[in-house]
Every structure is written in C-alpha cells, then in structure tokens.
C-alpha cells in the first residue's frame, strides 16, 4: 500500500479511536467495553499462570521456613480460632439485642451481604493507572461489586471477562466513594489523591465541620455501590482549602503492596426492583 493510502488509514484509525474514547467518557463510568473483555480474556490466564509461580529466592526460602514451623503455626491458629469463636458468641448476643431494640423503634438494619475470597492475579498499585485483576473462579463477579480486604476497602469491579475481573482501586484518581468521619458522622466524597501519591482525599467537607488528624473514615453507604461501615482510611492532615471546604488527606486503610487475596462482597445496596422503578418512566 502506498504512503498516501496509509496516511488515510492512520487518520481513519485515529479518528475512530478518538470517537471510541469520547463515547466511553460520555457513558456510565461503571460500563465496560467489548474490546476490554476480549483483552482481559487473553491476558488473564497469562497473568494467573505467572502469579502462581514463586518468582524469587526469598519466596522459596520463606516457604521452606514456613514448612518447618507449620505445627507451631497450627497451634497458634487453633488458639486464635477459639478466641474468635468466643468473640463471635458475644457479638451474636449484641446483634440480637440490637435487632430487638431496632424492632422496638421499627428500624430495619440493612443486610450485611456475604463475602467470598478471590485470588489476585495481577496488581499494579505503584503506577498512576492503578489496576488489579482478580480470578473469581466459577462464580463470576459483576460490575460495581465491592472488593474488600481484611483491613478495609480495596475498590470496585469495573470489567468482567469470564472468571477474570478488573478492579478500580479506591486510590485511583477517577474513583469516588461516599465516605464519613466515624467520630462525627460528617459525610464527604473520598477520591484518589493527585500526582500518583497513592493516598486519598476527602472532599466536600465544610470548613465548619470538625475533622482532625487521626479520625477514621468509613464508607457512608450513600453512593449506591458500597455498604456503610467499611474502613477506608485515617485522616492524615486537615488544611483550609478554598472558601468553603477543608482539604483533607487520608491514608488508605489497605496496604496495596501486600495484597495477594481479596474478598468480593455479594451485596446489592439498592434493591433491583427499586433500581428498575428509578430508571423507568414516572407517571
């Protein structure tokens, strides 16, 4: 093909891609593209295979050490399980009491949802386009499904391709989560920090609100994606930013560098019937 025709092909391809990008920008942030699904299906198995191989000597050495101390570890875990069982008994009692009090004032507690463990096959938490790819096995994840770790909120699923799912981390600049300060119940919007800092920002908290470094920030359950009460992070600094709102820096509760397994929360914050009512035409 001569260079002139190639030039036209280039223009066609670039304009096509620009339109594709613009259409994506105009669509809902949670929606995924077919091309992305195909790419994830291609690269997911490769990532999973490589994630399963111990890649350095220290891993192998650690494995050998673990094998040596496995009995001791087992004993310690049994003791921990006993303690946790006792705690669970106490908490079940408290839960029952809370339900009784709730029903006395006709308050219905929202459902807590179930969690299931899934493996991480690829994680890039250091670069500015942060990504996490999960392998969820037979039971597929769904778009907008919350992803947690024992320490707190990790993010939400944004693309699903069979058993593989791509997750938008809470530290992503484009991510937004409805958050609240635990001590004062003051609500705001938690977003990924700028300049690839790996931190978070709590926005839209008025200057008169009482927020201090050390305050814990949890999900507020107001965004229709995450249920209330999942730890997001801890306030690191509070400055007066602009005329109306604080500039609040938050350190994430989760250390993304040590994640190897996360949990998918099988939980729908807004009931399906209610969603349909909202999207349908009103009389």
């Amino acid at each position: 093909m001569d260079e002139r025709r190639t030039g036209w092909v280039l223009i066609f391809v670039l304009v096509g891609q620009l339109v594709y990008l613009a259409v994506q920008g105009a669509r809902d942030a949670g929606s995924q593209t077919r091309l992305e699904t195909v790419g994830l299906r291609l690269l997911g198995p490769a990532a999973r295979t490589i994630a399963g191989i111990p890649t350095n000597l220290s891993d192998a050495r650690e494995g050998a050490k673990l094998r040596g101390t496995i009995l001791e570890e087992n004993r310690r875990l049994r003791r921990e399980a006993e303690d946790l069982r006792l705690k669970l008994l106490r908490l079940t009692d408290v839960e029952g009491e809370m339900r009784r009090l709730g029903s006395a004032v006709r308050y219905t507690t929202p459902p807590a949802g179930r969690i299931r463990a899934v493996d991480i096959v690829y994680v890039d938490h250091a670069s500015w386009l942060r990504t996490l790819v999960l392998y969820s096995g037979d039971q597929e994840a769904w778009v907008n499904q919350p992803v947690l770790s024992p320490d707190g909120l990790v993010g939400r699923v944004i693309a699903v391709a069979g058993p593989y799912a791509k997750v938008q981390l809470v530290t992503d600049r484009a991510a937004s989560v409805g958050g609240m300060v635990l001590r004062t119940r003051r609500q705001g919007v938690v977003r990924g920090g700028s300049r690839g800092s790996g931190g978070l920002e709590l926005d839209y908290v008025p200057l008169q609100a009482d927020v201090r470094p050390g305050d814990r920030v949890l999900t507020a359950g107001i965004d229709g994606v995450f249920p209330r009460g999942i730890p997001i992070g801890t306030v690191v600094s509070v400055e007066a930013g602009g005329q109306l709102f604080h500039r609040i820096q938050v350190a994430p509760a989760v250390d993304f560098g040590v994640l190897d397994q996360v949990y998918l929360l099988d939980f729908d914050t807004v009931p399906q019937g209610f969603k349909e009512d909202l999207s349908g035409e009103r009389p």
């Binding site: 190639t6 920008g25 992305e36 600049r173 560098g257």
Partner: protein, 172 residues
Amino acid sequence: MSALKLFAWIAAAVLVHFVGMQLTPNFARFIDVFLVVVVLHSLEASSLSALLTGLLVGLLHDTITNGPFGLFGFADTIVGYGTARLAQRLVIQRPTGVLAVVSFAAALQQAIVVGLLFLLLPDPALPEPFWIALIRAGVSGLLGTAVYIATNHWRRNAEVRRRGKMSRLRLG
C-alpha cells in the same frame, strides 16, 4: 513468518511485563516493554504494519491499566507510524540511534496519554512527577537498545552459520 515473529515478540513482552510486576511493583512505572516492541518492530516494518501493531499492542496495554480504554492504543498507533516514517527517511542502525528513537518514542507516548487524559477526564491531574517520565523514557530506551543489539548479534551469528553450511555443501 513475520507475523509469527511479531506475535512471539508481543507474547514475550506480556511475559516480561507480568514477571517484572511480580518482582517489583514499580516495574511498569519505569519500563514500558509494550512500547519497546512497537518501536523495534516499526524500525523495520512498513508504516501500515507499524500503525496496526501500535494499535494492537496499545489496546493490550490498555487492558491491564485503568484509564479510559484506548488511551495507549491511540498513543502507540501514532508512535508506531511515526517511527516507521522516521526509519524510512533516516538510516537507524547504530545502537545510539535506537536509544534516541526509543527514548523519544516513550516520551512522546507519555505526552500523548497525558494530553488525552486532560481532554477526557473531568478533573485531570498530572499523573507522575516529570522526572519519572524522563526515567521511564531513558530506561525504555536502554531496554530497546539492549534488545536491538542482542537480536542483531543473534542474526549475524545465524547468517555466519548459514553461510558456513552453504560453503560446506558446495565443497562437498
């Protein structure tokens, strides 16, 4: 054969990227193996093949990043086509030339991606400090040069072996 070779290069890039990420979480921050494949292929390919390779490899790269899907596809298409056109006008055979081309291509790709992010995202911010972009361009350039030297060396050795075989056949 050429298409097979290209797919082998892309598979190798995917493998190196995943292994690198397993070894250090900062791997993708400082090296772009996908771009290296695009530039090295474009140095020897026609401009059409270069732009299509850029598109394919860029979209693969988009799959494992979290920005709007197509950012790297767009940037790598331009980089692939630009490199092929440059290679048609200039003779780039020295390793220093390859280093300069790959480094410049890496810088250009990052500039295009950042420009697109500013156009597309409602509240864009500069993603990385400038010095990280420079290091990424430099390291990608070094990797490209190393791969270029190694493949050239391997090609020359294969050629010598082939000639040796031919001459033995003639003598025999």
